[in-house]
Symmetry: C2
């Protein structure tokens, strides 16, 4: 086990200087403090320190540029509530930490965690472009990622809904209603979950013996491109149903179809994904695949507490659920 002496030896400085740096003493320069923290992490000192605390601090890391969480109608709000509902009664001190790419560039993840005295984290909203996603591969801090998966690091776990199942529920719902020409409209494939949903669409179509090629799938990071290019193409080529990668895209597609003179669901059925609070208040209300966000938050805490107790959980998925509202219907006779 690494001691303060080991850090001092490695750096060629005194034990008391190391101790001061680790305890944020005011008479230590910022540069030295950073070097001490980095050396401590490199020598595996994190683990030692954690067990000294009586109140254990954990954090929810939110990528604030990708996801909103402050208000009850924001996507991450209920996830955080579910997490706190289980964590706080068990004596954990939960801190919500909004981070952006700049914070991640400033400091390696394990150093950040050590500096803030966090024993573990629940990570929400990170995309493949976030620098710490690389750090998670070798981190030794217990870390649970919502909708991100790290291979081969026993300190990390992945929590989410079963997206394969969700897509299969969407496709088979449409197939039962007689649809055969089904398209898929997606935002950019810059996150793991959007990639998983994209390939799940093709798998599910093949499973039902339906044609699926680039023609019935459109992806773009710009909503305008989805609405002005992909969606009109789908309608022109006779698609009778469109599955969208997220409810926000589905609700825009609803409006756009109507503006182009198509009735929903009489002419075209639309399915969303996530069951955001808005999904019940579009016109018509949106058929969608629910992620139960409170349960996801609870699952996040369960997975983190497993990792903290050395149960090496890798993946924890919840069942997806089809919520049938008014944006889908049996295909009409004329088609």
């Amino acid at each position: 086990m690494t001691t303060i002496q080991d850090i001092a030896d490695k750096m060629g400085i005194s034990k008391s200087a190391v101790s001061k740096a680790l305890n944020n003493a005011p008479d230590i320069s910022e540069t030295l403090r950073k070097q001490v923290l980095e050396t401590a992490v490199a020598l595996g000192y994190t683990k030692l320190r954690r067990y000294r605390n009586s109140v254990r601090k954990i954090c929810v890391l939110i990528e604030k540029d990708n996801i909103q969480y402050e208000e009850p109608y924001h996507f991450a709000y209920d996830i955080i509530m579910g997490f706190r509902q289980l964590a706080e009664p068990q004596g954990f001190d939960v801190v919500i930490e909004p981070v952006d790419i700049q914070i991640q560039r400033n400091q390696p993840y394990d150093v950040y965690m050590l500096e803030h005295d966090y024993v573990g984290s629940f990570v929400i909203g990170f995309s493949l472009a976030d620098p710490w996603l690389k750090d998670f591969e070798n981190s030794c801090t217990p870390t649970v990622l919502y909708d991100n998966y790290i291979t081969g690091n026993p300190s990390t776990a992945y929590v989410g809904i079963d997206n394969d199942e969700g897509m299969e529920l969407a496709v088979s719902h449409l197939v039962r209603q007689g649809h055969r020409k089904i398209a898929y409209l997606s935002n950019s494939l810059g996150s793991q979950i959007i990639q998983i949903r994209y390939s799940a669409f093709f798998r599910s179509m093949r499973k039902h013996g339906l044609k699926a090629s680039y023609d019935n799938a459109g992806c773009s990071c710009f909503l305008s491109e989805c609405m002005e290019k992909h969606l009109p193409n789908f309608l022109k080529s006779g698609m009778t149903a469109i599955i969208c990668s997220q409810d926000t895209i589905a609700s825009a597609a609803l409006v756009q179809c109507q503006q182009l003179g198509y009735r929903v669901p009489e002419d075209v059925s639309i399915v969303g994904f996530d069951d955001l609070p808005i999904a019940a208040y579009t016109s018509p209300p949106l058929t969608t695949i629910r992620q139960d966000r409170t349960e996801l938050g609870k699952s996040g805490f369960f997975a983190l507490s497993s990792l903290l107790n050395h149960v090496s959980i890798s993946t924890f998925l919840l069942h997806a659920q089809l919520i049938e509202r008014k944006s889908t219907a049996r295909i009409s006779e004329k088609q």
Copy 2:
């Protein structure tokens, strides 16, 4: 909620006859008893009955023709121990039920569970050929399957290790040792997990930029065919490493290589899967991918208790772990 009256009305018999049939009274014919049970299940009576019991009975269903469990060195022994370790202290009565195809053909799964008064089950060793695997798709009994996955039924969950990660650990271990020509030797693809490992091998090889085609993969349900056909082919075509789908195959491959005049690991490296107790006692001891069986059993109970508490868990995977022993080595210079 379905009542005894509903069952009586549906069948056109008296309430007391239904009650007698459900309670195994001796003066009711076997045929009538079966009809009552089947009607009760069809009407969703299972759920009602469960909450009447103070001691809740759950079972571990073992496919006795596929898997052994009685002795400490058998594969399923530790899984069952892990399951009981958590279940019994929580007041559950755990019954081990060995079943075969005949039992499954005799009775639908939900009827079997109702008849035995089980509120849930942990299912081990079922292959795709087992009749109840179809029943699980529509069952309303909380059911956790080890190494089998059912899409779209919120009453079922899947527990196992992360096989994708396990295969990636095996391939990247060999790649670090300089191997490029890696083969995969598998038993029949008649179970979901063996199928998952098979496709994970190709994904992992592609990820490392290595050639993988039918040439470097052999599957057979006969061990003799693996040893006398596939293995010699691999050796002739210059493979320097062989990953096996299970430790039993790997241990046979070890001996067969040696009999064909190849040294392990000097000429050819061999990796197993599972870390069965025997893996440490082959000559040389086997490098393998560990499934922690006690943890798997505990995970099985955790998932079942989640389902019983209406947390709709779909998938619970544990991290795989590379156990490096002596059957793999850095590729020798001459190759």
